[in-house]
């Protein structure tokens, strides 16, 4: 017997003043060269069902429409427009809020769906409107749209509980296995498929769909890091797996402050007794290419959960973004890819939305532009957390309950781990639709509220990331075993297959192991903070992973096979052999070259992006990403300190894919040096630095790509050892490739992002690039050589002939940084800036911009001018030193420091006999020229 359902109603809400979304859409359209329809307008539409009286409608109007800002109408509009609504099953948090609010008001709303109405002038050709909507407004992965008025279904989907399906596999030959892997998108290689087939043949049964999917996720590149765990065949003998090399490097440094490295969700270090710091950085590349906002949004959400998953309170977020050049015509963008501007816009919005709403400062980062990132944008998101008296959980123990906390499970993000382990092509956006995840930062904020401070109530914790419950519960159950019932997992909507529940990557979920005696206390705490708590089973002690869906057993696997059954992969590598002969350049227009460098997309001011991130919340930000008297100059590192602490931490980033293209080994060294240099430049202690490594490379099955990866690990481990800065966590994202319709493959350049997190002994004594006092000396630390390969000079002044070498490792740098730090502690340093892209000229210019002061920098006799001003040699810093301290300052460096100029009160920078006005520097850097 079905009750009669009253017809749905709709409330259209329109801003009385111009809606800022109109301008945003217009700009987005103009950015990518689309004709923007005239008379563009945006309204919100709320569809509700329920038996509503006129008074009910009035109350809803009163709640939802602000009379000073909006008008609301319950009429179906007849103007010219389209309506966009979420696809069934996609998170609609606004609709959920309508239900909550209506209940508070006593209005009997049964179901709700929200959407947007885009209106245009009546004479807009339908094709123009369609093109605008498809290219700029709606995202087909998560939304649907219609001309006129949308009538989304408000009916609940009938709950049909499915059963696990058996997949005939044991009789398949290798060709049959390969076909099965392709058909189900398993992304397993032939050797792995054989092992799985034989495992089930040995048990005398066929695997279920859920078992096969569980193995595919657990053994995916994304989860198992098969490449980093592979034995490397170099043609000159085997080499240890890369992950082993990184771990060995950390072990050999043996830093006393490392509490946990390469174990669990994040690295943990302890710079001051009793306070630990958890660090992690992740990539979210493939999802961000398809759905930039959602991809970046959930990338941030995921890495915050990593820190929460090691029982630390998240305190800050970082982001490093790599995009294609913004100035490409739409016609140049390969099929299936979004325009870089749309990607950049969506990614920045996605990062901002998550960080701002969850209440964490987004502080450190970098933005890089290169044509190779057009089809393969990269999004690195990092998170830092702290804990007082860190609860190192030793569970789960047999008998503990398996508890899922937070968001509900839906069909979002199915097979994300296998998806991100594959390369992309023109069809990826269509077939990977379900892989896109939708973020809900408020749900995650509530998880933080509920979990931080409750560490005594659980014995183990992990986040639900790639692979969903299969990965979270599967990893926790390793060795101990678990028995869970998927029918107890709360769902966003009905109709999910058991394997979909098990594999879903729905966001904002954590799994904890709760001893039976603490279940009620934990449940109560979650209720209090509005976090959904679901007890779905127990850790058993028998070493088996058993997953049921009501009476049906859908997975029954030995956790030993799940985690250790994967065959060891062997990967051949062809190591690069770069030319390392220095070759100089000749630039005659020093002044114009400097301005072109300052205005280059990779160097110019990031103010537009940074101001969209809340980098002030928590009141802990002492050095911001923008610095200087007008807050428009780049900082080297950022500094955070809890308001009541005298000490803090500095965060620095090193990344340079252009050096990576030329010489991956030296790039590995240079990015470690850069990250270290950035934190030392603000005043961090060079003997207390921890590093994160994030590798985004192409397909490692190509020997040269694997060789680049091996070389870059050689470089970064050598540098880490030289600086005594241990790696504590890392993540690799491989297969960042796009296959064009002509079959050609396009990989990202070797992109290694190093994040340095260091101890700041005294946050009142931070140093920034801001010039302070005319008359002070400018001292250059480090040596300069004609190392131009991969330089930004070559980007603004293209060079013919042999490119020469990339910047070479500087073995003196560690001692130099220690001496600099000692000088800082003694108050001898007024300002300091690292030399990187664009070399000395750019560094001096940025210091002038920061201080709104002038400077005179001379060129020593006999030194090649182009090399002196623009080379990007490693290990160098430009330091402002008061004349009174100059003698003692120089003595510290034993000839490794050179007075090269002075701070002036002129409104210009003088580089030898070349002069550039300060206004011109500012204009070039901030986009005003």
């Amino acid at each position: 017997m079905v009750e009669p359902v009253p017809p749905p109603l709709r409330l259209t809400i329109t801003a009385v003043a111009r809606d800022p979304r109109v301008r945003a859409l217009r700009t987005a359209g103009e950015h990518i060269g689309i004709d923007v329809p005239d008379g563009l307008g945006v309204s919100d539409v709320i569809h509700v069902s329920g038996d509503l009286s006129d008074a009910d409608r009035d109350r809803l109007t009163g709640l939802l429409v602000d009379p000073l800002l909006q008008v609301g109408s319950w009429e179906t509009p007849i103007d010219h427009g389209v309506e966009v609504t979420p696809l069934p099953g996609v998170t609609d948090s606004e609709a959920a809020a309508v239900l909550v609010a209506a209940e508070r008001l006593g209005v009997p709303v049964r179901a709700a769906v929200t959407g947007r109405r885009i209106t245009f002038a009546t004479d807009t050709p339908e094709d123009d409107a369609r093109r605008f909507i498809e290219r700029v407004v709606a995202n087909p992965v998560v939304e649907t749209w219609v001309f006129g008025a949308a009538t989304p279904s408000l009916d609940p989907v009938a709950d049909t509980r499915h059963r696990a399906e058996r997949i005939p596999m044991t009789a398949l030959d290798e060709a049959g296995l390969a076909a099965l892997s392709t058909e189900r998108g398993l992304a397993l290689d032939p050797a792995e498929l054989v092992v799985i087939r034989d495992h089930f043949a040995g048990m005398g049964r066929e695997p279920t769909d859920a078992e096969l999917e569980t193995l595919a996720q657990t053994w995916s590149e994304h989860c198992a890091h098969k490449t980093f765990r592979a034995v490397i065949e170099t043609g000159d003998g085997d080499r240890e797996p890369l992950l082993r090399q990184l771990r060995d490097c950390t072990d050999s440094i043996d830093a006393p402050f490392v509490r946990s490295a390469f174990v669990g969700n994040a690295g943990v270090v302890e710079y001051t007794p009793g306070t630990t710091i958890a660090l992690k950085a992740e990539t979210h590349n493939h999802p961000s290419a398809i759905e930039p906002f959602g991809g970046a949004n959930t990338g941030v959400g995921g890495v915050i959960r990593d820190v929460l998953g090691i029982a630390h309170r998240p305190i800050a977020v970082t982001d490093i973004l790599c995009f294609g050049p913004a100035d490409q015509p739409l016609s140049a963008i390969p099929e299936g890819s979004l325009h870089p501007l749309r990607i950049a816009e969506g990614v920045v919005d996605g990062v901002a939305d998550y960080g701002n709403k969850i209440g964490l400062p987004t502080v450190a980062g970098a933005v890089l532009y290169d044509p190779a990132y057009t089809t393969n944008p990269l999004v690195f998101a990092g998170c830092i957390g702290t804990a007082e008296n860190w609860a190192e959980h030793d569970g789960p123990h047999a008998g503990d309950r398996v508890v899922v906390l937070g968001g509900r499970t839906g069909r979002d993000g199915i097979r994300g781990a296998t998806f991100s382990s594959a390369t992309m092509d023109a069809t990826t956006g269509e077939v990977a639709g379900a892989s896109v995840q939708i973020g809900d930062p408020i749900t995650e904020k509530l998880l933080i509220d509920a979990l931080v401070g409750a560490e005594d109530l659980f014995s183990a914790i992990t986040d639900c990331g790639a692979g969903g419950l299969s990965s979270a519960v599967g990893e926790m159950a390793e060795g101990v075993g678990a028995d869970v019932d998927l029918a107890l997992v709360p769902l966003k909507y009905a109709g999910l297959e058991p394997w979909e529940i098990w594999l879903s990557e729905a966001q904002e979920r954590m799994v904890i192991a709760v001893p039976p005696g603490s279940v009620e206390a934990m449940r109560h705490r979650c209720d209090r903070f509005g976090v959904e708590f679901s007890d779905i089973g127990a850790f058993t002690g028998d070493g088996r992973l058993v997953v049921r869906c009501a009476e049906d057993v859908v997975v029954d696997l030995d956790t030993g096979f799940l985690h250790d059954g994967r065959p060891q992969r062997r990967l051949p590598a062809h190591l690069p052999n770069p030319d390392r002969t220095p070759v100089t350049r000749r630039v005659d227009d020093t002044s114009a070259t400097l301005l072109d460098l300052l205005a280059h997309p990779n160097l110019r001011s990031r103010a537009e992006i940074i101001h969209r991130y809340d980098h002030e919340i928590r009141g802990t930000t002492v050095v911001r990403p923008l610095t200087g008297v007008e807050r428009d100059a780049p900082a080297d590192g950022v500094v955070l300190a809890e308001p009541r602490d005298a000490h803090g931490i500095a965060i620095g980033i090193g990344v340079n894919p252009w050096h990576g293209l030329v010489d991956p080994e030296w790039m590995g060294w240079s990015v470690v040096d850069e990250a270290v240099r950035n934190v030392v430049a603000v005043g961090a202690d060079p003997s207390r630095i921890s590093l994160l490594d994030n590798f985004s490379f192409g397909d490692p099955r190509r020997r040269s790509t694997m060789g680049d990866l091996v070389a870059s690990v050689d470089g970064c481990t050598a540098a880490a050892a030289a600086f005594s800065a241990p790696f504590v966590s890392g993540k690799d994202s491989l297969n960042n490739e796009y296959t064009a319709s002509d079959g050609s493959r396009h990989a990202v350049p070797p992109t290694l992002v190093i994040t340095a997190v260091a101890h700041m002994p005294d946050v009142e004594a931070v140093v920034t690039p801001r010039l302070r006092t005319p008359g002070d000396a400018l001292v250059l630390l480090g040596r300069t050589a004609p190392e131009f390969a991969g330089s930004h000079l070559d980007m603004v002044r293209p060079h013919d002939g042999p490119i020469g070498c990339a910047p070479s490792p500087d073995l003196e740098a560690p001692a130099r940084y220690r001496a600099l730090h000692a000088a800082m502690l003694d108050g001898e340093v007024a300002a300091c800036h690292d030399l990187s892209e664009g070399g000395l000229a750019v560094a001096a210019a940025e210091m002038c911009i920061a201080g709104r002061l002038g400077a005179y920098v001379e060129r020593p006799e006999g030194v090649d001018a182009t090399t002196w001003w623009f080379a990007e040699s490693m290990g160098r810093l430009l330091v402002e030193v008061p004349q009174s301290d100059l003698g003692s300052f120089l003595k510290r460096f034993d000839g490794d420091a050179e007075v090269v100029g002075t701070v002036t009160d002129e409104a210009r920078l003088r580089l030898g006999d070349v002069e550039v006005d300060l206004d011109a520097l500012v204009a070039a850097h901030t986009g005003g020229r």
């Binding site: 800022p20 979304r21 602000d66 809020a97 508070r104 701002n356 209090r528 903070f529 009141g619 807050r631």
Partner: protein, 238 residues
């Protein structure tokens, strides 16, 4: 004795620890409370000497910034907040708290999307308006420097000149207007002067080192802490 200050939060409020620190440094005794729990504990509000509605994204801005938390403070708390004001308790709503207080009808006007179209985080300078009735800006001479971090901070009012003539404008942007607020209005108070709403975050400039540009001596003159100290002064009747 430190006057008790209740910091009201909803799910998604995120600057409550920041404002609790500011209250503590200003001499109050802050207690962070969920609005949903205050409904069943009216005594907590009755005993408060100051009330703060903290900033953040309560309920994720669903249905418009502040709307659902305003519902908690009206349908949920009934007349609790109004009664506190009638007893003479200073109330401040910051950022999302300001949005909440306008939606709840405790402050005039409303807050729309920033005229620039997007969320903005930057530092601003706030000039205390001399003829304002607000107890929170009473005695302030120097400008207050502090960050903003909001997407919906454009203050609108049907008659802003009348509001000002009435002493209802407490703070004005002295630096560039960051969001298109009418008459550069950054903070407004109610007719009693007890209730203040503002978009900027004075609670994030309570230590000199938090200032992005100024050295300690100069930073000290422009602390956002001054607002909280004025609120506490009023609460203790000093």
């Amino acid at each position: 004795m430190r006057p008790p200050a209740v910091v009201i939060t909803g799910p998604g409020t995120n600057r409550d620890p920041d404002v609790a620190l500011a209250l503590e440094l200003a001499g109050a005794d802050p207690d962070i409370r969920l609005a949903g729990e205050l409904a069943g504990d009216r005594g907590a509000l009755t005993g408060a000497a100051l009330v703060v509605v903290a900033g953040g994204f309560s309920y994720g801005d669903a249905l418009g910034a502040g709307r659902l938390l305003a519902l908690d403070l009206t349908v949920g708390l009934g007349d609790g907040l109004r009664e506190a004001v009638e007893r003479g308790v200073p109330v401040i709503g910051i950022c999302n708290g300001f949005q909440v207080l306008t939606r709840a009808g405790l402050l005039p006007g409303s807050l729309g999307h920033n005229s620039g179209g997007s969320f903005v985080c930057d530092w601003v300078e706030l000039e205390p308006v001399p003829d304002s009735r607000s107890v929170w800006t009473s005695g302030l001479v120097d400008t207050v420097h502090c960050p903003i971090a909001h997407g919906e901070g454009r203050y609108v009012h049907p008659d802003p000149d009348a509001l000002q003539a009435n002493g209802g404008v407490a703070l004005r942007y002295a630096s560039e207007n960051p969001n298109g607020s009418v008459n550069d209005i950054a903070g407004v108070c109610d007719e009693t002067g007890l209730v203040l709403g503002l978009m900027p975050h004075p609670e994030n400039h309570v230590l000199t080192r938090q200032h992005p540009v100024l050295d300690a001596d100069e930073s000290r003159r422009h602390l956002g802490l001054a607002l909280f100290e004025a609120g506490v002064r009023h609460a203790v009747g000093a």
